[in-house]
């Protein structure tokens, strides 16, 4: 299977979040995700990005989207001040992300905060979800 990656860097301002949302939506939509899931992923990326922006000290916010065997993985990265967890596991934000993504991973290290979101593809009977031949 070919692993595709899309990388995008945007200015760390709320006005540019729509670009992330659109990009991740377009990516997932081309990859056998249902509309529900595409929307989930868009909302999750927006929520994660908002959290990063709130604590970001840098000029840029970076996003990598990658196809994996299971689906897609989105990694959002920004510079932050400390190494405190970027999202508290008891927060509303965390609850939302938990509902929208299949897997979340949050890491703050060396003043760089990363939120990784995974969304698994549905296996569609008779569909081309397992596209190992392309």
């Amino acid at each position: 299977m070919v692993f595709d990656t899309v990388s995008l860097t945007i200015p760390a301002t709320a006005g540019h979040l729509a670009i992330l949302r659109t990009t991740v939506g377009g990516f997932a939509a081309r990859d056998q995700f249902t509309l529900d899931q595409v929307d989930d992923l868009r909302m999750a990326v927006e929520e994660a990005a908002v959290q990063l922006l709130r604590q970001s000290r840098g000029q840029r916010l970076n996003m990598d989207i990658e196809t994996t065997d299971l689906g897609v993985e989105v990694r959002l990265l920004a510079q932050v001040d400390g190494d405190d967890p970027i999202i508290d596991e008891g927060s509303f934000s965390w609850t939302i992300l938990r509902a929208l993504a299949d897997d979340i991973h949050v890491e703050s290290k060396a003043q760089r905060a990363t939120i990784t979101l995974s969304k698994h593809r549905l296996t569609i009977p008779g569909g081309s979800a397992e596209r190992d031949s392309r």
């Binding site: 939506g25 509309l35 529900d36 595409v38 909302m43 609850t95 509902a99």
Partner: protein, 252 residues
């Protein structure tokens, strides 16, 4: 004034207006239904126009509706007036050449896709994928994406199924039943509670179903009786509202 009273008063005023042509009756009718205009105008408030202007524009629609309404049709006036008022508001934005204006071609495709999504969801027992949707619509995947995206941009506010405190509005709350919408799980997000309390009941319920009961958008759509795309828009809007609330600047 209760809904019943308003309906009765409306009927009476129309009867009097039609027989006497008294402009005062027309004014009274307009005043009585101004809350509907305000409600609908608020749906457009995120588009950068002052709410007062929108209410004024909507009132023009209301007056048109009053002049055209036929009591014998057997529909409630507010049901009849809603599309006229919304139409007036939409025209206002169209005439202004609004930034998020969507080409007619995309608007039409977006509407068509909305119907196809519902149909495919029923056939497949889950939401369709974009390739499936493209195939069913006979257009390319890119066109589907473009239309979906524009649909998102165009109606971030709910127009196709107004809800609110006007009982005459064509709401779909009847499909919801009397379930517990208390959002108990949200209780410990104390800071959010006042914000969530301000949401209309339907929005609260959608919030709960998606984020606490882990229901998919398609299932929620079926449950509430609106389209999946509409659920998607409402969810985005609710989250946006809660985020603004977090920043201390929320208005739903």
């Amino acid at each position: 004034m209760s809904t019943e009273d308003r309906r009765a008063t409306t009927k009476l005023l129309f009867t009097e207006l039609r027989s006497s042509g008294d402009p005062q009756k027309r004014d009274q009718l307009a005043k009585l239904h101004l809350p509907l205009v305000e409600y609908l105008a608020k749906r457009f408030k995120d588009r950068g126009e002052p709410l007062d202007d929108l209410i004024q524009v909507g009132s023009v629609g209301l007056l048109k509706a009053i002049d055209r309404f036929d009591l014998d049709r057997g529909v409630e006036f507010s049901t009849y007036a809603t599309p006229t008022i919304v139409g007036e508001l939409k025209r206002y934005f169209r005439d202004k050449g609004w930034a998020v204006r969507v080409p007619r071609r995309l608007q039409e495709l977006s509407l068509r896709l909305n119907k196809l999504v519902a149909q495919l969801t029923q056939d497949l027992g889950r939401a369709p994928t974009v390739p499936e949707l493209a195939k069913a619509a006979g257009v390319s995947e890119d066109e589907v994406l473009e239309a979906l995206e524009s649909g998102q941009a165009y109606s971030t506010t709910s127009l196709d199924a107004p809800s609110g405190d006007d009982d005459d509005a064509p709401m779909r709350m009847d499909r919801i039943g009397s379930e517990d919408t208390s959002l108990d799980n949200l209780e410990h997000f104390a800071s959010l509670k006042p914000l969530i309390d301000q949401l209309p009941e339907r929005e609260r319920m959608i919030l709960r179903l998606r984020f606490f009961d882990d229901m998919t958008q398609s299932k929620i759509a079926e449950h509430v009786g609106i389209s999946q795309m509409h659920v998607s828009r409402l969810l985005s809007r609710i989250l946006e509202y809660l985020r603004q609330g977090f920043e201390g600047d929320a208005q739903y």
